[in-house]
Point group: C2
Chain length 367, copies 2
């Protein structure tokens, strides 16, 4: 069997990080623990429930650490993610996605039968009616109305639409109206608050209970307390942090728990290094940057271009030492969540040694 | 076991494509077969050996089809890829990468012992010396000199450097000088030819045999015959084709064998659709485009923005019908090779029905 012969020799606890093959993402245990504690403390200070988004790591053991620190439940983006975490024992799961089509609805119905606190969102009567058709004779499913408070993705466009859709949900067999949800754009707390508060006024007028008001996003994290209408906040990236979070002022480079370990494989010119991390390790996510990650210890190095398995690094601005062929370097990725999705296993470390290896259990599943 | 419970219900031959859950890449068998035949015919016409790059599909059965059509051998970019294809019986494998570091060199040495025609490339004495240290007392390994003929990635910078490194390889225990290799930029046949021809003149002067001269790239594919110094050409993307190949004039949209099947999950405004394919299905590769793929049947629709599991589609320029919630659409990705790397299985189809499901056997392996 091919996979028996070629299977990756997975690192073991106690292995030296510097001996690992590259390219490979690695997670600093202490930085991750501090990130979990810092954000939970902020939420506790402001009396907000916290619902970590597991898309960032897709690893049940990390969600357990988030819940142990005080998180109320978890947030998933796909049914397959929710299934993996349900298998691991999580009971308060919000899937922030319009579940559409019989293939997914059959799967959702089975999941709802075995997860006490499963919740989904909807932003149209088409989505709601599809849910109701499948759930009418089963255990009821809780549905939140997704509101577009300026994020420009999914969501009803006005408080009036939100209130009408809430009524529609409440009147449908098999469904329970659970509240409101938004994925907002950053630096827009006033707009979020205005949309949600007006909707709640309409719901109160109509006599509709609104138990959950869920806002979210790591970019919006530290303004969560300004959205007083919200009962909870969702965030994912904060657990690892990344270059985009450093730029946003949410953390420093020393708070970035994920590094991509890479090797310098070529120095074709004095100003050019080529590393073995390309778009199949770092991804092409720019998130507004013009280059592909920050090279730790070489602040003037610029990853200008990615092929699939090569990264081209411009060293022309480096005033200090330049990396040599064979040197291992560490890169802070622009966006950590998409890197997790490329690898079957994640290696954790402390003081230069591997502490554990976790399966990225929820990656690569289509349903 | 979590994976027993949640494992994807893989499609079966005979299933209707329109019934598959989304997002998911699908491959049209007939288009793929035509792509294989078309490029092999071009190579045959011009007397060039053809060495398909398997990074695009990472599936041994597809490489077998490429070899059955006339390809001489295969091209891999990583040791793990080569291991998977060696297990499948391939004996002529060129790894176009500087293999650096003891972790990889141990693995390479074991692979060389069992693959008759394994070849690698090097662009520095550091790489060559590392190879020789590990291979000195084993079956010799064939090493080609990588030349930077204008691609700006790896490679020696001049014919003089190339000839000197060839001599260095020829003098090292455990190594055989195998020839020259370049990954050129497109539309530069004259520069490639000049670099390679001058190097060959220097090698001839030095009495060094140069059996293989390997040029490559799907973007450069149809100018391969202009590089008369080359004995072979390498290309990967051509087997599926993608939007970047359409733009390059190498194929039409109807030659794109890979589509990403996606579902419209929201229509929050008349001009906006949201689909369930985001950066974890399409990747963020732009390759010079400003949007994230071509929507089949909706030529005026623009995928303007990707979240991880959402794609935002601007319909404002659509003069005809617009897709409704629940509609399944097909997307031609900007870059097919990175999409393959996201999925554990690939579904193939003909006339609307699944023909087979192949494991993407070489994805996600770190070594």
């Amino acid at each position: 069997m091919a996979h028996d012969i070629v299977s990756e020799i997975s690192p073991k606890p106690g292995d030296r990080i510097d001996d690992l093959s590259t390219p490979r993402p690695i997670i600093d245990e202490d930085r991750m623990a501090a990130n979990i504690a810092r954000v939970q403390s902020y939420m506790d200070t402001h009396g907000l429930n916290f619902r970590p988004h597991i898309k960032t790591h897709k690893i049940p053991a990390l969600a357990s650490a988030q819940v142990a620190a005080g998180a109320k439940g978890i947030n998933c983006q796909k049914i397959t993610e929710a299934e993996v975490f349900a298998d691991a024992g999580f009971e308060d799961i919000l899937i922030t996605f319009n579940i559409i089509g019989p293939e997914k609805l059959v799967r959702l119905t089975a999941l709802n039968d075995r997860v006490a606190g499963l919740k989904v969102v909807a932003d149209s009567t088409a989505t709601v009616d599809g849910l109701s058709t499948h759930l009418a004779t089963r255990k009821p499913l809780t549905v939140l109305v997704e509101c577009d408070t300026g994020g420009g993705r999914c969501g009803v466009q006005s408080p009036q639409e939100a209130a009408a859709l809430a009524q529609h949900i409440a009147g449908k067999p098999g469904l329970i109206f659970g509240g409101l949800m938004t994925y907002p754009k950053p630096n827009s707390a006033a707009a979020i608050q205005a949309f949600l508060a007006e909707t709640m006024t309409l719901l109160k007028r109509d006599g509709v209970e609104c138990p959950i008001v869920s806002s979210g996003g790591t970019p919006s994290l530290y303004e969560a307390h300004l959205v007083t209408a919200a009962t909870e906040h969702r965030a994912g990236t904060y657990i690892y942090n990344d270059r985009s979070m450093v730029r946003a002022g949410h953390c420093g480079e020393d708070d970035c728990a994920m590094h991509i370990l890479a090797t310098v494989v070529s120095r074709p010119t004095p100003d050019r290094a080529v590393i073995d991390a390309g778009s199949k390790a770092l991804t092409s996510d720019l998130l507004g940057f013009s280059d592909y990650g920050a090279v730790v210890g070489y602040p003037e190095a610029v990853i200008t271009n990615l092929s699939e398995e090569h990264g081209v690094v411009d060293l022309s601005k480096c005033s200090g030492p330049r990396p040599a062929i064979g040197d291992k370097i560490r890169i802070i990725p622009n966006h950590t969540c998409v890197v997790s999705n490329l690898f079957d296993r994640m290696v954790f470390h402390r003081d230069g040694f591997v502490t554990r290896v976790e399966d990225v259990a929820a990656r690569g599943l289509v349903w």
